[in-house]
């Protein structure tokens, strides 16, 4: 009896130590091709398929950003633009007017891999903010590859500082670390921004370059303001509803006047 109790005690100790050191397997990685992580998310099920998650893209002062609708870049929007993007799709973005580098352009990609569940009618007020800093744009022009994983912070482990609405807080990871896995430890990964020096063909962006120009929703410019108190314009105006009844056809999007590059 006594040897059994001793072995039971040792077994309990071993199990407890094994549980404390249980490794976590991350099947996803930020090094996967664009669209792979979001596609895996869709396979897991849940209310992801067909939902247009609002995303706000911010660029530095003086720069402008344009999206792709039907293989054509839209009119450049200064400072920021807000659009609803499908989860699992890859959206090509063009950034121009980079400070100190006139005439040069960067073409990042954005992949939304999760969604928010805001109160009804407030979908556009809580977009996923994706900030393109001047430093990152210059790094991309120098041939570097910038990967930025935007994650939703866990309130129980929140950073105890006041958030700057015009400057997104980020952490730099080492070369041996996967930013998607680090973001998963810190919170819930929502989107992946990839930015390099890849340029379209001289004849214009190909279908492969713009990843088939998936459908998106454009929001009015008043929803592209940085986070902060509700503006008087938004206070008394109803927020446009997103089509929740299923996937949108591309023609339902209301693009601005498209310009051919």
């Amino acid at each position: 009896m006594a040897p059994h109790s001793l072995s039971l005690l040792l077994a309990c100790l071993l199990v407890s130590s094994a549980v404390a050191q249980s490794p976590v397997h991350f099947p996803q990685s930020a090094y996967l091709p664009p669209g792979a992580v979001g596609s895996h998310q869709l396979l897991r099920g849940g209310p992801l398929r067909g939902y247009f998650q609002p995303v706000q893209i911010r660029v530095p002062d003086g720069a402008a950003v344009s999206l792709v609708i039907q293989q054509q870049f839209t009119d450049p929007a200064p400072h920021a633009t807000t659009a609803g993007m499908l989860i699992g799709q890859v959206y090509r973005v063009k950034v121009m007017g980079i400070p100190g580098r006139p005439g040069e352009e960067v073409f990042p990609t954005i992949e939304v891999i999760n969604r928010l569940h805001p109160p009804k009618g407030y979908e556009a007020r809580f977009p996923i903010p994706i900030e393109l800093t001047t430093e990152e744009l210059l790094l991309a022009l120098q041939g570097r590859f910038v990967t930025r994983v935007i994650y939703l912070e866990n309130p129980s482990d929140a950073f105890p500082m006041q958030e700057n609405p015009k400057r997104q807080r980020y952490f730099e990871v080492h070369q041996e670390d996967d930013p998607l896995q680090v973001a998963d430890r810190l919170g819930r990964p929502m989107a992946i921004l990839r930015m390099g020096s890849r340029q379209p063909n001289t004849r214009g962006p190909s279908d492969q370059f713009v990843f088939g120009s998936p459908p998106l929703l454009l929001f009015p410019d008043e929803y592209s303001q940085p986070a902060g108190p509700i503006t008087p314009q938004q206070q008394g105006r109803s927020v446009p509803r997103l089509p929740f009844d299923g996937p949108l056809a591309p023609q339902l999007a209301t693009p601005r006047e498209a310009v051919r590059r």
């Binding site: 040897p3 849940g46 105890p160 902060g228 929740f244």
Partner: protein, 483 residues
């Protein structure tokens, strides 16, 4: 043979040692569970309270009559006029009888009765839209009960967004339009009493106060200290950050350097050793040096606990638009304001949750006359002289972005059948909420204390100076910035 016996002896000793370790661990666990003072002192009292006959340790003191009121009795029909918080003088209440245990205060936690006999579950109906969402019944695999659920997704989500059956019963609050699991990481909540019940020691220090907790504790005439949690308010306020990595085609760059430098050194100087030729005799002391008294005295003072004692400056007489409710103005539920009250609480069903406040105290079930799941529930209790404090919490908005300011309002009422004293309301703010300085108001005379908590936010504490008569109540307001 002797070696085998030695091994057997070792086995036997090891077995007995293991049994002893297990017994000691079990005993220590039992001792920790039964020791009422095992909790860490999270919130020490803001200051040494004056000993009051309300406390059990003054049970042997002679009975004293009730002190004359310093102000008019708080009328439940109106909020007390604007006033400045006076220096706090704790109530001196004479206990009617000597207490059986003068050393340890007895803490009673006001909690609803959980289970089939709990009053919170009676008449619970889930607000399903029957026209747009046909309701069906199905057995739940998890709990084995029969639940009603919507066959279609709510109108705010696509059909694939159906997140599970809508449990009917004692489920906690969920966001409107979301059935089943809901994303808690998109909300910041405040109020209630999280697991790890709040307990109050005999010196009024509070243990087990977690982040987001909002509770009130008060003393009764028979020497008990009762804890009453508020309802829970959830606000949609997601916050984002990013993880960045910059890489290039050249992942590693290695720079070679010289392994070392060989530079032989030669003698640069020669030093000769010289013998000592003379010696100096040590001289004796020629005189006495007088001792002088110190000209300065440095006082050494022991470190004391420092608190930031702030007094409420004033209380605004008017009510904000979101506070214009009978529950806040008069402490009474109005049937016509069901929808508005449910809207501002944001956690309407939490009133009937485990953290609700209108449920039985002192582990005694109350007889229910009428009930509902709404926050405007009317319960009828046979209290039998039981003390009771109701505390409710509302927020000015349901959603907020970083930088937004949220107004919180707490309404507390003595709904028991005896006067209570030493009423203290504590709100332990979560990390994402930052208290706006000088925004705390209280309609009654109270001492306000703000101290840092473990979430690098603040713990707000109001100590009501005067006892609370039957039917009386008050309102507390403060503002927070969403981080």
């Amino acid at each position: 043979m002797s070696g085998m016996s030695y091994i057997r002896c070792l086995r036997g000793a090891a077995s007995w040692l293991a049994l002893a370790v297990l017994t000691l661990s079990l005993c220590s666990c039992v001792a920790q569970n039964t020791n009422p003072n095992r909790f860490r002192a999270d919130q020490p009292p803001s200051r040494p309270r004056p000993t009051s006959p309300f406390a059990p340790n003054r049970a042997m003191a002679p009975m004293r009559p009730m002190p004359p009121r310093q102000r008019a009795a708080f009328a439940p029909q109106a909020v007390a006029p604007m006033r400045t918080a006076a220096p706090m003088q704790r109530t001196a209440f004479a206990p009617p009888t000597a207490l059986p245990s003068p050393a340890v205060a007895r803490t009673v936690v006001a909690r609803p009765v959980v289970g089939p006999s709990g009053v919170a579950q009676v008449g619970h109906t889930e607000p399903l839209d029957g026209a747009r969402n046909p309701v069906a019944l199905a057995g739940c695999v998890d709990c084995g009960k029969t639940h009603a659920y919507s066959q279609h997704a709510p109108p705010a989500l696509p059909s694939s967004a159906w997140t599970g059956p809508a449990h009917v019963g004692d489920d906690p609050w969920k966001p409107d339009g979301l059935y089943g699991p809901w994303p808690r990481d998109e909300y910041i909540c405040d109020g209630g009493d999280q697991p790890g019940e709040v307990r109050v020691r005999s010196d009024w220090s509070v243990d087990g106060l977690n982040l987001e907790d909002t509770i009130a504790h008060f003393d009764t005439k028979d020497g008990r200290t009762i804890v009453a949690p508020s309802n829970r308010v959830c606000i949609y306020a997601p916050r984002f950050a990013a993880v960045r990595k910059v890489s290039s085609m050249v992942q590693a760059r290695e720079t070679m350097r010289s392994a070392g430098v060989s530079a032989p050194l030669r003698l640069g100087q020669q030093t000769d050793s010289v013998l000592v030729e003379s010696a100096m005799q040590q001289n004796q002391a020629m005189g006495e040096i007088g001792l002088r008294a110190p000209i300065a005295y440095r006082e050494r003072q022991e470190s004391v606990l420092v608190h930031n004692n702030l007094a409420a400056i004033h209380f605004e007489q008017g009510f904000s638009p979101f506070e214009d409710l009978q529950f806040i103005r008069q402490g009474a539920f109005d049937n016509s304001q069901k929808a508005r009250l449910a809207d501002v609480t944001s956690a309407a069903l939490a009133w009937t949750d485990k953290k609700g406040v209108q449920v039985v105290l002192d582990h005694t079930e109350a007889a229910i006359a009428t009930t509902d799941v709404r926050p405007q529930v009317t319960f009828q209790y046979e209290l039998g002289g039981k003390p009771r404090l109701r505390i409710g919490k509302i927020a000015s908005r349901h959603q907020a972005r970083p930088g937004d300011i949220i107004d919180f309002t707490l309404r507390f009422d003595n709904i028991g059948t005896q006067e209570i004293g030493n009423v203290t309301i504590i709100d332990n703010l979560t990390t994402r909420l930052e208290y706006v300085p000088d925004s705390a108001q209280c309609s009654l005379g109270a001492e306000f204390v703000a101290s840092e908590n473990e979430g690098e936010s603040l713990t707000l504490r109001w100590e009501i100076t005067e006892p609370l008569p039957i039917g009386a109540g008050g309102v507390i307001r403060f503002k927070c910035v969403v981080r």
